[in-house]
C-alpha cells in the first residue's frame, strides 16, 4: 500500500523525496507529538539536559527504532527501553523518572489493602518498582557523571498508595534492598522477616537489625508494605 510510504517518510532518518506536496508537515507533526509527551514524561531530564538534548534523543529514537506501541501514553516507556539498550549515559535518570509512572499506572487493585498490624504478615505493595543504579540519580542536576561513582549501587523504590493514588519513593542501600526482596516473594510478619534477613547477612547484627526495623516501620507507615492478601 502506498500509504505506508508516508509512515516511512515521517519516521526515517533519510526519507528521500516526499510522497506528495506538504508531506513534510506530517514529519514535523510526528516529531512534535513525540517531543510533547517526552517533555511531560521526563521533566528532570529536560531541566538538567535541556530541550535540545531531548529532541536529539527523540530523533534518534524515532529514526533508529520508532514506537511499536499502539498506546501513545506508553511511548516514553519504549523511549526509555531504547535509551537503556543503546547505553545512553542518561538512562538511569530516565528510569528514575519513569518509575513513578510505572507505579502510578500499575494495574494492581489496591483499595482493599491496608498496612499490616504489629503481628500480621505483610508483603511489598504490588506496585513497588525497584531499580538499581550506579549513580545517585536523585541528585542529578546537570550532566551525568562520566564514570561510575564508587558509592553505588543505589536502590530506589517507588510505589502507589492505596485509595489516595499518592506516590511514594524510598532510597535504600543494597543490603536493605536485598532484605526487602524477601517481602516481594513472600508475606512475612515483621519478626519472621527480621529473622530471615539477619540469617542471610553477616553484617553487624545489632546495627543491621536497627536499620531493618526503621525501614520496616517507614514502609508500613507509607503503605509500601501491605497486609498479606490477594493483591489482584
Amino acid at each position: 500500500m502506498p500509504g505506508e510510504s508516508l509512515v516511512r517518510f515521517v519516521l526515517d532518518p533519510n526519507p528521500g523525496p516526499p510522497p506528495f506536496a506538504r508531506a513534510d508537515l506530517y514529519r514535523v507533526f510526528t516529531r512534535k507529538i513525540h517531543l510533547d509527551i517526552l517533555e511531560v514524561a521526563f521533566p528532570r531530564f529536560l531541566s538538567a539536559m535541556g530541550r535540545r538534548r531531548l529532541e536529539e534523543m527523540m530523533d534518534s529514537f524515532l529514526e533508529l527504532k520508532g514506537p511499536s506501541t499502539l498506546q501513545y501514553p506508553c511511548v516514553p516507556d519504549e523511549f526509555l527501553a531504547w535509551a537503556v539498550s543503546s547505553g545512553h549515559p542518561a538512562h538511569e535518570l530516565l528510569n528514575y523518572e519513569r518509575a513513578a509512572v510505572r507505579a502510578e499506572r500499575h494495574p494492581a487493585e489496591l483499595d482493599h489493602l491496608y498496612a499490616p498490624g504489629q503481628d500480621e504478615r505483610g508483603r511489598l505493595n504490588p506496585t513497588v518498582d525497584v531499580f538499581v543504579t550506579a549513580e545517585p540519580v536523585h541528585t542529578i542536576a546537570a550532566e551525568p557523571p562520566a564514570s561510575p561513582s564508587s558509592h553505588g549501587p543505589y536502590v530506589y523504590l517507588c510505589w502507589r498508595r492505596p485509595r489516595t493514588d499518592e506516590l511514594a519513593r524510598q532510597r535504600v542501600g543494597p543490603l536493605l534492598g536485598r532484605a526487602l526482596g524477601l517481602l516481594g516473594v513472600e508475606a512475612l510478619t515483621r519478626e519472621a522477616w527480621l529473622h530471615r534477613a539477619l540469617e542471610e547477612e553477616s553484617a553487624d547484627p545489632e546495627a543491621y537489625r536497627e536499620a531493618l526495623l526503621d525501614l520496616h516501620r517507614e514502609l508500613v507507615s507509607r503503605e509500601g508494605i501491605l497486609r498479606a492478601g490477594d493483591p489482584d
Partner: protein, 270 residues
C-alpha cells in the same frame, strides 16, 4: 450531545450541572491496562455518563497485521465501559511495526478503500460490536488519488457494512485546503450510515492552510455544515472535540447549547 473526556477537563466535568452534556467520548489507548488515577477517572466516568469509545491507533489503511492480544483486550475494555459502537480513522499510522501516532492520509483509490474495508470487517468481527470509520483532515493529497474523499468513504462503508463517523470540521478543513465545495462533498457522503458526528474548531495558518487542532472555537461555517448534515443523518450522538487551549467550561457548554439548538431545528424541520 457529548464532550471529550480529557484528563485536563475531567474534574470540572464531574462538577458540571446535570444535563450540561449527555455523554463523554474517550480513546481506549489512553486507559487500556492502566491502574491508578486513570482507572479511577474511567470508573467514575462510566458510573456518571454513557461513554463512547473512539480509537486512534488501529491504522485501518495500513498493512501491519492486527495484534490479536490487543484486539482481545480492546474488546473486553469496550464491553466493560458499555460503548454502543467503536470508531477509528480511515488513515495509516504504522508501517513495519513502527507507529507514527499521527493520522496520516491515505491515497484515495479503489484498491485502498477495499483494503480498508477488509480490515474494518476484521476489527468488527474481533470486537463484536458496531464499528464506524472517520474520514481524516488532510494537508496534502496523493498523486495516486483517483476518487473523491466522499466516494472513498462510501466505498469503505458499503464494502465493510460499517457505520460513518462524520467529522464536519474535517470535511470543512479539507474542502478549504483542497478547494472544493463542502456541501457537495457532504451530499456525496453516506450520511444514512452515520453512527456519530464530531464537530470541532481548527487553526487557520497565515498561508491559508487549515490545521485540525481541536484547539479553537467552532466556526460558524462548521455549524452551518452540521445543520445541513443533520437533515440526512437523523438524531445521532454529536461530540464536540476540544483537545487543547481549553476554554472555561461555560464556553464549551455554550457550544453544546448551540449544537443542541441546531439539532432541534434540524429534527423539527425534518
Amino acid at each position: 450531545m457529548g464532550l471529550g473526556f480529557r484528563r485536563e477537563l475531567a474534574e470540572s466535568l464531574f462538577e458540571a450541572p446535570a444535563g450540561s452534556f449527555d455523554f463523554v467520548e474517550l480513546a481506549p489507548e489512553n486507559y487500556l491496562g492502566f491502574g491508578g488515577r486513570r482507572r479511577r477517572l474511567l470508573r467514575k466516568a462510566t458510573a456518571q455518563w454513557p461513554v463512547i469509545a473512539h480509537g486512534l491507533a488501529l491504522s485501518l489503511g495500513g498493512e501491519d497485521p492486527f495484534d490479536p492480544g490487543y484486539l482481545d483486550s480492546l474488546a473486553q475494555f469496550l464491553s466493560d465501559i458499555g460503548t454502543p459502537h467503536y470508531s477509528d480513522h480511515l488513515c495509516v499510522g504504522s508501517a513495519e511495526g513502527r507507529h507514527s501516532h499521527e493520522l496520516l492520509p491515505l491515497p484515495l483509490t479503489l484498491s485502498c478503500a477495499r483494503h480498508c474495508a477488509k480490515r474494518v470487517k476484521e476489527v468488527t468481527e474481533a470486537l463484536g460490536l458496531p464499528m464506524a470509520v472517520e474520514h481524516v483532515s488532510a494537508y496534502g493529497c496523493w498523486p495516486e488519488d483517483e476518487m473523491s474523499e466522499a466516494d472513498f468513504v462510501t466505498e469503505v462503508v458499503e464494502a465493510s457494512g460499517c457505520g460513518l463517523l462524520l467529522d464536519v470540521n474535517n470535511l470543512y478543513v479539507n474542502a478549504s485546503n483542497f478547494g472544493f465545495d463542502p456541501y457537495q462533498m457532504l451530499e456525496r457522503m453516506p450520511l444514512e450510515e452515520t453512527l456519530q458526528i464530531h464537530v470541532a474548531g481548527h487553526r487557520l495558518r497565515s498561508d491559508g492552510l487549515r490545521i485540525d487542532t481541536h484547539s479553537e472555537p467552532i466556526l460558524d461555517q462548521v455549524y452551518a455544515l452540521l445543520a445541513e448534515a443533520l437533515k440526512r443523518t437523523g438524531p445521532v450522538p454529536i461530540l464536540i472535540e476540544r483537545d487543547d487551549r481549553f476554554p472555561p467550561l461555560e464556553d464549551l457548554f455554550l457550544e453544546v447549547e448551540r449544537v443542541r439548538n441546531i439539532a432541534r431545528r434540524a429534527f423539527c424541520a425534518g
